[in-house]
């Protein structure tokens, strides 16, 4: 029998509208929405924040964040962000992109935004699948993982192995902050039996805020957030969380990949 071992105080955040999100049950997009809004509130930057909404599950985020928005074409969010940042350097600009958006069709835009040390913040939701389009293979789909376009499991001889975005971006000189965190709650054993810890989420919260701080310092910040897609993975929610904590982290190890300004230590 699982027990709730913590309580979370939720309150109204200025950076959020009252619109309920469309995200599926168990999906961490809602968690990330909350973390980003909390960071915007804590840093007091709502009135100068512009979100670039990208194609994928986060495309409707303009309904949820109480700030200016530009909705970009599939994969192009970092280019749109860069264009706006150059004419309005005073703005704080961020995107929330999926793995299909950022690591497949928009990889060039992502790499070049980092290469030029563009002061923007990019959040990559890595759920190892194309969620919005109904569960096709993403560049991050694990070997053997079943998707609608890999019905017999991902064959790495044909499609290559998983693309590690954090590792890749960290090799680029212009990237100032690269962090891989997880939004999946973790099952642990305690004296009271099985409990779920939100340690990962608290760490992700810190990373999200750091990513804005790095932008304020003039750097390109990239935070990859491992997430579930229980609907398209066709797994119960808790099993999906376990898949992140047991399988995905092996291919996509959590941690700080780069921190040029040393914001983690501050």
């Amino acid at each position: 029998m699982t027990q709730v071992a913590y309580t979370v105080k939720l309150g109204k955040l200025d950076a959020l509208t009252d619109t309920p999100t469309h995200y599926c049950a168990g999906c961490e997009h809602g968690t990330l929405t909350r973390l980003i809004a909390a960071a915007i509130n804590n840093l007091g930057i709502r009135e100068k924040t512009v979100m670039i909404d990208s194609v994928g599950c986060s495309v409707l985020a303009y309904n949820y964040f109480n700030c200016d928005h530009i909705v970009a074409a599939h994969g192009r969010a970092p280019a749109v962000a860069a264009g706006l940042k150059r004419v309005h350097p005073e703005l704080m600009i961020f995107s929330v992109q999926g793995d299909g958006d950022a690591v497949s069709i928009g990889l060039l835009e992502m790499i070049y935004a980092a290469k030029r040390a563009t002061p923007i913040t990019v959040f990559l939701v890595n759920n190892a699948i194309y969620g919005m389009t109904g569960g096709q293979m993403a560049p991050t789909t694990l070997e053997g993982q079943v998707t609608t376009t890999t019905p017999f499991g991902r064959d790495v001889h044909l499609t290559g192995t998983e693309l590690d975005a954090s590792k890749l971006i960290a090799t680029i000189d212009g990237a100032a902050y690269v962090k891989r965190a997880s939004l999946a709650v973790q099952e642990i054993s305690s004296q009271r039996g099985k409990v779920y810890t939100i340690k990962n989420i608290l760490d992700a919260k810190k990373s999200v805020e750091n990513a804005f701080k790095v932008q304020a310092l003039g750097g390109f910040a990239f935070v990859e957030l491992l997430s579930t897609c229980s609907i398209n993975w066709k797994m119960p929610v808790l099993e999906a969380k376990r898949f992140v904590n047991e399988s995905m982290v092996k291919k996509f190890p959590l941690g700080l990949y780069k921190d040029t300004f040393g914001v983690e230590k501050r």
Partner: protein, 358 residues
């Protein structure tokens, strides 16, 4: 430039024209025969002569460049990019989004021979892609066609003005010839009109509700209304923004219809034929969209016949035929692949048409 005469390539003149029109940001990707535009703008970046010119950046791809333009235009800046035909195909994605998001900016296509890589010679074969809404969905670009280096210098002023007036991208559709040609040009003093962007630009929601620049609308009825409103805007542009040159058409029996560089060769042919007593004239659309169909219909109603001359296999020809209607003779002389017609070829084609009419 201060009103003095300078000797410039068409592409250089266009770059200076954009600066004089108040350019704020340029996003580049090199492609022949348009590269003098980014080269000139790179050279002038940081110059004290153009204090409003805040940013120049070479992008990693045509897609990146057009999306940077989208970002800068979203912030209310006067942004621009230029390309040539193969690159213009890649721009279509961004143009479709921008038209739906109602973003004002300037895009230039220095058209070369196609399809595919084609070659670096002049063609006017991007007429369809430019005037019919080359990307997906229902939209139009405002399309301006320069015929001289002087027009390359001045059309950016009109281009930015119309872009902001109608909140829609404007295309300047040149060709390898108008881009590479070197002529004397003047830049008369000019103060760009300032448009208020504060009701829509994404500059931070300070003391106001958020601005959302978006092409996504999942509610079909709302999207129906949005596109309808954009087309209402286009209808106003069609009523008010048609521009053309009418040359010796008044008593002409045959009117040559040509734009851009083809119109200059045609004008030479008209002058040759006039000196021999042949009653011909030239009608030159400057706005390819909105197309001067009313004016062409009027000429047709006066019993004139038409010869369309283009550097393609017959694209504007379709719009001329639509404008003049059935029962009117519309002949065509096209050259493509980088080949241009000579005045003599136009003259002989026209003489055959005259004979056929008798």
């Amino acid at each position: 430039m201060g009103g003095k005469r300078v000797y410039l390539k068409g592409n250089e003149a266009l770059a200076y024209g954009a600066l004089e029109a108040g350019l704020n940001a340029y996003f580049a990707y090199p492609i022949t025969p348009s590269s003098e535009i980014p080269e000139t703008l790179a050279k002038e970046f940081g110059s004290k002569k153009y204090p409003e010119y805040k940013f120049f950046l070479q992008a990693a791809s045509e897609l990146e460049a057009i999306n940077m333009v989208i970002g800068a235009a979203s912030g209310g800046a006067r942004a621009m990019t230029a390309t040539s035909s193969p690159g213009f195909s890649l721009k279509q994605e961004g143009l479709s989004y921008a038209a739906c998001m109602e973003l004002p900016f300037l895009i230039v296509d220095i058209c070369r021979a196609g399809p595919g890589l084609g070659n670096l010679g002049p063609e006017q074969s991007d007429y369809f892609q430019g005037t019919k809404g080359g990307g997906h969905g229902s939209y139009r670009l405002i399309v301006l066609a320069p015929a001289t280096v002087q027009e390359m210098a001045l059309l950016p002023r009109l281009g930015f003005d119309l872009a902001f007036k109608y909140r829609n991208p404007t295309l300047i559709l040149g060709d390898a010839f108008t881009g590479q040609l070197k002529e004397d040009v003047e830049f008369p003093e000019f103060t760009p009109e300032r448009y208020d962007v504060s009701s829509w630009a994404t500059t931070g929601a300070k003391g106001r509700p958020p601005h959302i620049l978006n092409s996504l609308e999942l509610d079909y009825q709302k999207h129906f209304k949005h596109i309808g409103r954009i087309y209402e805007k286009y209808r106003r542009a069609q009523e008010n923004e048609v521009r053309f040159e009418d040359y010796r058409t008044e008593d002409a029996e045959t009117v040559i219809v040509a734009f851009g560089i083809a119109s200059r060769i045609a004008k030479g042919a008209v002058n040759r034929l006039r000196s021999k007593g042949v009653k011909v004239g030239l009608f030159r659309p400057i706005t390819l969209w909105p197309f001067p169909k009313v004016q062409l219909r009027k000429l047709a109603s006066q019993g004139k016949q038409f010869l369309v001359v283009e550097l393609n296999t017959g694209q504007m020809l379709e719009d001329v035929k639509l404008a003049v209607g059935d029962g009117v003779t519309v002949d065509f002389l096209g050259k493509w692949g980088g080949v241009v017609p000579t005045e003599a070829e136009i003259e002989s084609k026209l003489r055959r048409l005259e004979v056929a009419a008798v």
